[in-house]
């Protein structure tokens, strides 16, 4: 009898262990989906759900804050996404926060990122609708632009040094002239750079205009990025950098132009043979670098102009021209 | 002829088992074709027959482990095949069955084996009473010391005795033995035969014993029946059959 009781006890422990583990597992899953804790509900309307699904995570400033619970089409261009968020973040989530669809991890699980605004506003309430931010694609382009501008910046300073060198020891230019390929390439590069600088300047002014509009809260960008301080900051940085490198570039181009003109006119020390081949090599490399980076830069510009955020602005510019 | 029938009916009235015109077939294999047998109260009948002639089938039909095709098989005056499950259980409660292989439950101790029919038939829930009854029955078969052993620890003869004890614990009115001495050495076989006889008197049972062990038959039988070709080929006391000139019957006594 005692033996049987012991068996019953062991069986009971065994089965209870199974049940407890199952419940614990279900609880842990639920915990990750925020099904048990206190929650509240917010909405956001996107133009494109980008493959978002029920159950995808919602992050607030990068921390897991909830899940997507429902996605529905409310009219032909709007998709309303319902999210359940953890009560603990409620005091920090303001009405002007911006929600954006992003990608998580390597395998591309979609998620909703909520970024707080730099401007304080009222704390959110249950059932409120958040502003939808642009897709992160634009942010990526801006980031690329930033990088390119940086590249151009460093290249132009390189060229500057070389031109200085050329100016100082005029003799080396002979070798440059002798090497006709370099000469013609230099010409082409200079043309490219000029074109680019033109583009660049246009674009910078365009951006600057837009910034002005944005600040006053008007215009297309204004409506989208009004409170998106991060996007705004990025844009401003990009523009400043571009303006600076644009100025540098035009300086460089002018310098180069002048030198080439002088050379063409036969000024300078025409009889001096070049001993300093190193500087010629450097020049060669720099020119090819410059070529490729200018090409890339122009491509980026085109992409940026095509991006939905700015497309209509440029369209408007075209019309007014 | 009519007179004979009348006598037979009269005889049937005090038979606790009566088998008439019983027919059993498994597919095309006809085991019993027209079998008649009666068991009176207090009587021991030994059924002889070749292996596979349907001896075991016959007694399995008596407790409704197997179904028969036609004819009549009455136990305690009731047709076995017409009983409800409840009636069947109460009939089985009054009958004991010793299986050829003893059929002890391997997963239970000797005590649990003996308690099993008591518990299943809801005879007694009083623990002391159950214990007392198990003890008494085991002492009757002389194996009280084996009460806590598992069947696998028992020898063939011991298993037979425990099987016997398990059948007897319900104090049945009829005992059915399926080859009780088969597979045992002659000495153990004799012991079992003697034990059967002794218990017969202690418990006052009537029994049908399936066997082809003539020693056992001689010891236990009041009457013998020989099955051949699906019918009751010969019937009589040990001495009458021994004296028979029929070659088939004679063969058993050599």
């Amino acid at each position: 009898m005692a033996k049987e009781t012991a068996r019953h006890v062991r069986l009971g422990i065994f089965v209870m262990a199974g049940i407890v583990l199952l419940i614990l597992g279900l609880y842990l899953i639920g915990n990750n989906k925020n099904l048990w804790g206190e929650t509240f509900r917010v909405y956001v309307v996107f133009r494109n759900a980008s493959g978002l699904q029920n159950g995808n995570n919602v992050r607030f400033s990068g921390i897991n804050a909830g899940t997507v619970t429902n996605i529905e089409m409310i009219n032909d261009s709007s998709i309303r996404v319902e999210m359940i968020l953890d009560m603990s973040i409620k005091p920090y989530l303001r009405k002007n926060a911006v929600a954006r669809i992003g990608t998580d991890g390597l395998m591309g699980n979609k998620l909703v990122n909520i970024e707080p605004s730099s401007v304080l506003s009222e704390v959110i309430e249950d059932g409120d609708t958040l502003t939808a931010g642009g897709s992160t694609d634009t942010a990526q382009i801006l980031k690329k632009l930033d990088e390119t501008a940086g590249n151009v910046n460093s290249i132009s300073s390189d060229i500057k040094t070389i031109t200085e060198n050329i100016r100082r020891s005029k003799g080396s230019l002979y070798s440059v002239l002798l090497d006709t390929t370099i000469a013609s390439r230099l010409n082409v590069s200079i043309d490219n750079i000029s074109e680019m600088t033109e583009n660049f300047r246009n674009f910078s002014t365009a951006l600057a205009d837009m910034m002005a509009e944005t600040k006053s809260g008007k215009g297309l960008l204004g409506s989208v990025t009004n409170d998106t301080s991060m996007l705004y900051r990025q844009l401003r940085n990009a523009v400043t950098l571009m303006e600076k490198s644009g100025k540098d570039l035009s300086e460089v181009t002018n310098g180069l132009n002048e030198s080439v003109k002088k050379l063409n006119q036969g000024h300078g020390s025409a009889g001096v043979l070049l001993n300093d081949s190193v500087s010629a090599m450097e020049l060669k490399n720099t020119i090819s670098n410059l070529d490729s980076s200018v090409y890339n830069f122009n491509e980026n510009m085109k992409a940026l102009q095509e991006s939905w955020l700015l497309r209509s602005y440029f369209r408007r510019q075209k019309k007014s021209n | 002829m009519a007179e004979k029938m009348k006598i037979k009916e009269h005889v049937e009235s005090d038979e606790i088992i009566s088998v008439s015109h019983l027919k059993i077939a498994f597919g095309s294999n006809r085991v019993l074709t027209d079998f008649n047998l009666g068991l009176r109260k207090g009587e021991n009948v030994v059924v002889l027959g070749k292996s596979g002639c349907g001896k075991s089938v016959l007694i399995k039909c008596m407790v409704r482990l197997l179904a028969y095709d036609s004819g009549s098989l009455k136990v305690f005056g009731k047709e076995v095949q017409g009983l409800s499950q409840k009636e069947l259980d109460s009939m089985r409660l009054r009958m004991g069955f010793l299986f050829q292989s003893s059929a002890l439950y391997d997963s239970m101790t000797v005590r649990e084996n003996l308690e099993f029919p008591l518990r299943r038939h809801h005879i007694s829930s009083n623990k002391n009473e159950v214990n007392e009854r198990v003890k008494e029955t085991l002492e009757n078969v002389g194996l009280y010391h084996a009460i806590d052993l598992m069947p696998s620890e028992l020898s063939g003869g011991m298993r037979k005795r425990i099987g016997l004890a398990r059948s007897l614990i319900l104090k049945p009115e009829i005992m059915l033995y399926d080859e009780p001495t088969t597979g045992l050495d002659p000495i153990t076989a004799r012991e079992i035969s003697n034990l059967m006889l002794r218990l017969q008197r202690t418990y006052n049972t009537s029994s049908i014993i399936i066997s082809h062990d003539m020693h056992c038959a001689r010891l236990t039988a009041d009457r013998l029946a020989v099955i051949n070709d699906g019918i009751c080929y010969a019937e009589g006391t040990f001495n009458t059959l021994q004296a028979s000139n029929d070659p088939f019957v004679k063969a058993f006594f050599n």
Binding site: L11, G18, L22, I29, N32, G105 | S101, R120
Partner: protein
């Protein structure tokens, strides 16, 4: 008709038909057995004591085997998956990937196959020997419905115990996986678990548990069916145990296949 003119084909065809007939007869018998189970389980008497005893024998006593296997599977699966994921720079996905495979598929199927081997053959052999040594008959004579006492109790026990074993097996396999992840780099159990549970969903756990219930039922069914109808003496016992395992394992895979279809159909996925 052209077939009939071929002298070899009638034999071949009758063999094929004979085999098919046997197969369908067997399938029909098993179905009838399952139906009888449901009929018997509905009406009293209920053999609670026996169910508990069998649960102990079937569930508790299989735990160590299931546990050890699950641990090794979790460990090995993780160690084997790791190089591929590292190649993709997705090492962080290891717990999630292993967790999903264990909970959805490997846990239930491996546990069920082990149970088919251990429990299915055990039941097949036990019932087989009970049949040939007339213990089943003896039970019936003792006023017990052997189907209820032997078959129903065992089938209920397997149906309830296999899911419990699966849950415990899954847990142990996850622990094995955790050990494997930890061998290669520092990770806390908490982080590991949160990565696992972030990737799995109710849609992974619940179908897998429901599936295990059916696995358990199939194991009990084949074991009991083969054992209960054992014929031809001691050799038949071996045959029963053997075919209980074979048919049980086959049924597990068939159920698994159906389960995948159903979960996908309902989109629980």
């Amino acid at each position: 008709m052209a077939i009939d003119s071929d002298p070899n084909s009638p034999g071949a065809w009758s063999r094929v038909f004979g085999g098919m007939r046997k197969f369908f007869a067997e399938a029909g018998d098993i179905s009838a057995f399952a139906i009888r189970f449901f009929r018997e389980i509905l009406f009293p008497p209920y053999e609670f004591r026996e169910v508990i005893r069998q649960s102990y024998e079937i569930g508790y006593k299989s735990f160590s085997l299931v546990g050890i296997t699950a641990f090794i599977i979790g460990l090995v699966l993780t160690l084997q998956s790791r190089p591929t994921l590292v190649e993709f720079g997705a090492e962080a996905w290891l717990p999630a990937m292993v967790g999903i495979s264990i909970i959805r598929e490997i846990g239930p199927v491996i546990t069920a196959l082990i149970c088919a081997g251990k429990i299915g053959s055990g039941i097949g052999a036990e019932l087989g020997s009970m049949r040939v040594t007339e213990q089943i008959d003896a039970m019936e004579v003792s006023g017990t419905n052997p189907f209820k006492y032997i078959v129903v109790s065992r089938m209920v026990a397997t149906t309830v115990m296999v899911p419990v074993l699966v849950i415990l097996g899954d847990t142990i396999a996850l622990y094995g996986s955790f050990i494997a992840v930890k061998l290669k780099g520092a990770v806390s159990l908490k982080l590991f678990l949160s990565q696992v549970f972030e990737s799995i969903d109710y849609g992974d756990v619940i179908p897998s548990i429901v599936k295990s219930v059916f696995f358990g039922f199939a194991i009990g069914l084949t074991g009991c069916f083969k054992g209960y109808y054992t014929k031809k003496g001691t050799a038949g016992v071996g045959r029963s145990a053997n075919s209980a395992v074979v048919i049980g394992s086959l049924l597990i895979f068939i159920i698994d296949l159906i389960a995948v279809q159903i979960t996908q159909f309902f989109g629980i996925f």
